[in-house]
Every structure is written in C-alpha cells, then in structure tokens.
C-alpha cells in the first residue's frame, strides 16, 4: 500500500510539472514570436490570415478630359467582357504594379491613343493600404520598366 500511495503521488507531481510546461509553451511560444519577434519553427504563433491578400490592388481607372473632368471607366466594359465573371483572373484580381499596368495597357489599346487614360491605385501591405499610383498616365513605353518589377 505505501508503494501505491507513493506511485500516486509521483503521478500527480509528474502531471503538475507536465501541465506547467505545456502552459508555458502555449503562452510563451506566441509571446516569443509575436511580441519579441523571435523566429523558430519549434514554437507556434497564432497569426491567422496575416499573410493572405497582400499585394492585391484597389484600382480606379478614368479618362482625364481636357476640361479637367474625370470620367470613370469600367475595365470589364472597355475590354469587352459582358460580365465580371467572364474576365480572366488577372483582370479581376489586380496584383502589384505590374498587374495593374498590364490591364491598363490593354485598356489604352482598346480605347485608342486619343484618350488620356489615368489610374489611381493602392496596394495591400501588412500595414494597410499604401498608395501605388495617383493620377498616373498610362504610357506603354515608360511603364515597361515598371512591369518588370514585382
């Protein structure tokens, strides 16, 4: 019987130590990675969805008229898609400067060179929306350099 009591006591002590260790790992792991900025694969952080949706752009296309008036342009209409879902993904989801400019050039081609197509765009970053283009004139030659950028 004393052996049994001793075993039970040992079991409870082991359980206590294990519980404390697990709790420390559950609290300390995210603290180390999310607060102190540490990097290790051995501990788990809980930052769900933090890496998703980055580089996507919110874009407005418009034609700058001579009198200063801005005429909004629907990219789907200009490119000849009857419905949004008919357009390929690179037209529906504009990613990075290169993605925006690629669509802008197609639109300029469809509209003709006599139209002054402009673009306002902001890009998704971990710190929120960041301005990418503001009133940028679409020019295939000078944009070629931009398109090579990510």
């Amino acid at each position: 019987m004393p052996h049994r009591a001793l075993l039970l006591r040992l079991k409870e002590h082991t359980r206590t130590v294990a519980f404390v260790v697990f709790v420390l790992l559950m609290v300390g792991g995210p603290f180390y990675k999310q607060v102190l900025g540490g990097e290790t694969i051995l501990l788990r952080e809980w930052t769900m969805y933090s890496g998703l949706g980055l580089r996507v752009c919110d874009v407005a296309f418009y034609i700058q008229e001579a009198d200063g008036h801005r005429m909004p342009v629907d990219r789907y209409e200009v490119l000849g898609y009857a419905a949004v879902q008919e357009a390929p993904i690179e037209v529906r989801r504009l990613e990075g400067a290169a993605g925006v400019l690629a669509v802008a050039h197609k639109m300029q081609e469809a509209l003709g060179d006599d139209k002054d197509l402009r673009v306002d765009a902001r890009i998704a970053t971990p710190v929120g929306w960041v301005p990418l283009f503001e009133g940028k004139a679409v020019d295939a030659a000078s944009d070629a350099e931009n398109r090579r950028q990510p």
Binding site: F19, Y49, G53, L54, V56, D58, R93
Partner: protein, 317 residues
C-alpha cells in the same frame, strides 16, 4: 482553499465522464482523414519509407477511430501529424502542411492522449465490458481524469487571445486588412465604390477582435458558454465559407467540447439516446423483467416516483 489549490484542482483533478473525450477522438480522426488521407496514399511515392509512413498513418488513425488502444493510437496519430507539420511542412517546405490548422490537429491529439479517451465509444470500452462480465464485476464507469481536456481548453484560449493580439493594430482595426482579404478572395467587383464598404469592414474587424478576446476568457464560464459559444461557431463557419481555413474551423468547433462540463455532455447524450427518459429506466414496471435480467440489471419494485428535477437524474450510467 488557497488559490493554488483551486488552480490545481481545476487543472489536474478534473474528473468526469469520458464521453466528450470519446467524441473528440472520433471527430479528430475524421478531420485528419479529411486533411491528409488522400495525400498519404502510396501512389504518391513508391519508396519504402513513404509507404511505411503512410501505413503508420492509416493504421494509427484507424485504431484511434475505433478506439483500440485509444491513448496509444492517439499519441501515435499526434506523432504522425507532427511529422507532417515539422518535417514535410517546415523542413521540406510544404507550406500547406506547416499551417496552424495542422499544428492544432496534432496538439489536440497529443492532449487527448493524456485523457482516458478510450473509455467511451470505443473497442476498448467494449472489451472492458466483456472482461467485467466474464469476471462477474459491474460494468466499468465511463469516468476518468480529464486534465488533457483542460489543456485543450487552455490551448483554444491561447489561440483566440494571440489571434486577437495579432489583429490589434491600425491596419486590421481600420478594416484595411479585411478589405484586402475580400479583394483577394472575391476578385472582380470594385468594392470600394460601395459607400458602406469601408465602414462595414471596420465594424466587422473591430467585432472580430472583441469576439476573439471574449472567447479567449469567456468560454471557461457558464455564461460565456451560453452566449459566446454560438457566436464562436458562427464566426468559424463564416471564416470557413468566406476565407476557407482547411480543417481549422471544424477543429475549433469540435474542441469546444473541452469547455463543456463532462457531466453535461454525458447527460445530454443520455437524453438524446432516451436513457434518462422514465420509460427507459430499469425500475419502469412497464418494461419486462427479462429484458433487464439479460442486461444484468435487477428491476426495482414498482414505486410511485416523484418527478425528479433534471439535476437529480445526472448520475452517470
């Protein structure tokens, strides 16, 4: 009673029905199959180590599902899923296997292995009943120390707390990050043209952070379970439908069982199976004597019973 005693009592001396652990065991296997089974087939790589690893996966999850050597098989499944997470996910760079949903499955199986998860809904239970019958002993109770369930509950609290912490910044609270997720996941429309888009996403973002903080602490209390649990389930289902989170949403909902008192789970399951209904009780004179003799239960003499309150019928059967 000192605070330390209260904490140790809550954490380490939590004893109760093992049915919630049994249900969790079965549910975790189904989620793990949903996530990995197709990828673990030998057709993906005919080298012996992969074939053996795949076999280990299917044997261990199979044993865990039917509840044979339940704790050992749960531990083995945890090891296999952790191997997927650390080796294939982090070391070999399969990002989909290095995700938070995989870690959660692995750690839940590990903590479950610390509970007597085979004492309910398992072949272990069936064998124990037969053993007791052979020896002429009463049926073993579906009862045990559930400190592993406390660990699972604490892990969920930490998931919510640190998830809220990671969102407590201007980029998320302003609604920007939600807008970006919407642009990325539902490409096509120019949402910012809709005048309510920005205010709505801001309200939703603040709401999510508040709810996650509330879930982190509130689920440990009865009022929290009553009001927050349905909200948590709706939030997870919304995440699944809108953003797709692999098995994460369903795993979190399944692991909510760790917050519900074990006796309550047992009682509700009894009620669902009609066990606590008066007509199914052994002392019901309407039932034949032979039926209970077969089950090894002596029917009591018929007595006029008072209508017992629900709490009075919670004795575990």
């Amino acid at each position: 009673m000192t605070l330390a005693n209260q904490i140790t009592g809550w954490a380490l001396r939590y004893e109760g029905s093992t049915r919630a652990a049994g249900l969790m065991r079965i549910g975790l296997v189904l989620l793990i199959w949903g996530r990995f089974a197709g990828s673990m087939l030998p057709k993906h790589d005919l080298h012996l180590p992969w074939i053996l690893f795949g076999m280990t996966f299917f044997v261990a999850t199979g044993l865990m599902l039917v509840g044979l050597w339940s704790r050992l098989s749960s531990l083995l499944v945890s090891g296999v899923v952790f191997t997927n997470y650390f080796y294939f996910g982090h070391y070999l760079g399969n990002a989909y296997w290095a995700g938070h949903h995989v870690y959660l499955l692995a750690i839940a199986c590990f903590f479950l292995a610390l509970t007597p998860c085979g004492k309910s809904y398992s072949l272990d239970r069936w064998r124990a009943l037969h053993r007791a019958e052979r020896r002429g002993q009463p049926a073993p109770k579906e009862w045990g120390n559930l400190w592993g369930m406390r660990l699972i509950a604490f892990q969920l609290s930490m998931v919510y707390f640190w998830a809220a912490f990671s969102k407590a910044n201007p980029a998320f609270l302003s609604g920007d990050r939600l807008q970006q997720l919407i642009y990325a996941n539902f490409p096509g429309p120019d949402y910012s043209q809709f005048f309510l888009f920005e205010p709505l996403t801001m309200v939703a973002a603040i709401g999510v952070v508040i709810l996650q903080l509330a879930l982190a602490f509130g689920l440990h209390f009865p009022w929290g379970r009553k009001y927050l649990m349905p909200l948590g389930i709706v939030m997870h289902l919304a995440f699944y439908v809108l953003l797709y989170a692999f098995t994460f949403s369903l795993t979190m909902i399944l692991l909510y069982l760790a917050f519900i008192p074990a006796g309550t789970v047992h009682r509700v399951l009894n009620q669902m199976q009609g066990v606590s209904m008066p007509e199914a009780r052994p002392d019901n004179p309407l039932l034949s004597k032979s039926r209970f003799m077969e089950a090894g239960v002596q029917p009591a003499a018929p007595t006029k019973r008072k209508a017992a309150p629900l709490a009075g019928r919670t004795a575990l059967r």
